[in-house]
């Protein structure tokens, strides 16, 4: 079991979610602490993305409750402290007529309020996000002329422009080449070292094992949530991921 060293930043209690009479998630409880780097893993259709959407307040649980930063994920003040990178850029059209800088600036918009003016602090946050994600030199380039790896870095910069406390990512490297994947995970490690809590969804056992500090394994219900080593029995692992037990044991201390 996890030894509490920092404050709880996300808490889910008895979470159940039904869609069209089908139970996608069943009686799900867990806690995530400040500064954690959590990989959410499970088979396709096992409820990973649904869990993320519940945590983001994009779906309402059928029963149970979620607290993020001590409040409901539906609250605007909570949402303003959250960053999100959707799978394959979400609904962002690849031909959308926007430059990199415009897209990153859009990540800062929720912090401005209705009639909020663009202040020097906003400009600074955007510049810092672009610099840290290595997209500063692309600032004038249209989104339609970016490679897959560059595009994901820009979307990460957009999320970071809001200076979030928690960063959610849904299969962020899906479709990228190995070099771009490595670059992306390197950026995530840097972000996490700064104290940002990261929760990322993946169906890749090896990536979770290598990158995350802890794993949250699910298949419609919580299979395990553990730090360092997620002790799933071999039979469960085979059933869940068609992988071996060793694949899911973390080796961060070695």
């Amino acid at each position: 079991m996890r030894i509490a060293k920092t404050s709880t930043i996300i808490e889910a209690k008895h979470l159940t979610f039904r869609r069209n009479d089908e139970e996608v998630l069943h009686d799900f409880s867990f806690a995530i602490h400040e500064g954690d780097y959590v990989g959410v893993i499970g088979p396709n259709g096992g409820g990973k993305t649904t869990l993320l959407r519940l945590l983001l307040g994009l779906e309402k649980p059928t029963s149970g409750n979620i607290k993020i930063l001590g409040g409901s994920p539906m609250r605007r003040t909570v949402r303003q402290q959250i960053g999100y990178v959707a799978q394959r850029g979400g609904s962002l059209d690849s031909q959308f007529p926007a430059t990199v800088e415009e897209v990153v600036k859009a990540g800062r918009t929720p912090r401005l309020g209705w009639f909020g003016c663009w202040k020097s602090s906003d400009e600074k946050a955007v510049r810092t996000a672009m610099k840290e994600m290595n997209v500063e030199k692309l600032r004038e380039r249209p989104m339609s002329r970016l490679s897959g790896g560059e595009r994901q870095k820009v979307l990460l910069a957009r999320a970071m422009a809001a200076e979030p406390k928690i960063l959610f990512l849904d299969e962020p490297v899906d479709g990228l080449d190995p070099q771009s994947r490595d670059d992306f995970y390197k950026l995530l490690r840097t972000i996490n070292k700064r104290g940002v809590t990261i929760i990322f969804v993946s169906h890749d056992v090896h990536v979770i094992s290598r990158e995350a500090g802890s794993a949250l394994c699910l298949k419609h219900q919580l299979v395990c949530h553990g730090d360092k080593a997620c002790h799933i029995q071999g039979t469960q692992l085979r059933d869940l991921f068609h992988a071996t037990h060793e694949d899911l044991v973390h080796h961060h201390d070695t």
Binding site: R76, I82, G83, Y84, D93, P97, E102, A106, P110, P142
Partner: protein
Amino acid sequence: MLNSIIEVLSLSFMQRALVVGLMVGLVAPTIGIFFVVRRYSSMADTLAHVSLAGVAVSLLAGTAAIPTALVVSIMSVLGIEQLRENKTLPAETIVSLFLFGGLALGVVLLSLAHGHNVNIVNYLFGNILTVTTSDVWNIVILGGVVVVTTLVCWRQFFAISLDEDTARAAGLPVKLLNRVLAILGAATIAIAMNVVGVLLIGALMVIPVLAAMQFKVGFTRTWLMAVIISLVSVALGLGASYALDLASGGSIVLVAILGFILSTFCAKLMTNR
């Protein structure tokens, strides 16, 4: 040539036409760009057809056409947005339902209003040269409200157009912003009704934006280019309409299409350079 232009511009009906035309030329792509980038271009056509039903209602009720069309359009866009958010039907299906429903209702109501002394062709195809001074004031005020509101909410509209889920997750009031944008769209249709007619309004909202998008210059620059293309289309279209005695709405849209062809050609040249 210059004398002829000065002579034409000294005519009061041409001055009114130019003021109204340029306002529509500014407003249409300003709202249109958000419809286009969200692949929601058919929304403009739907609102136009629904506003035809609004015109028919005004004929039966004896009320002013533009405000009545505006009210009917706003009620429709709120209905469309509600159904879209319920996600029980695909967005295109909802928009099509309202498009055909609006047109059918308009036709039925117009048949009931047959005894009224109405030139429905002006509403269908536009006749900017018949615009009155009170129309000018209505259009300038309503157009000003649409432009100012859009500019104030520019960053928010841009963020929800990029990706609704990400914007919602980050705390933007997406539902409210969608409704405000849809209402501004309805107002744009009401404004442009006299200029290009309900059948061609969508074209002026979409074609200048598509022309500007060929240059791949970012969002704000695309909008500025679209406004310039739209204003030039209105001015040249109006001039051609007066000089050659052509329908104003059709002339403006044909010039805009010419602008799209030229933009595509120029953008390709610039890319190959």
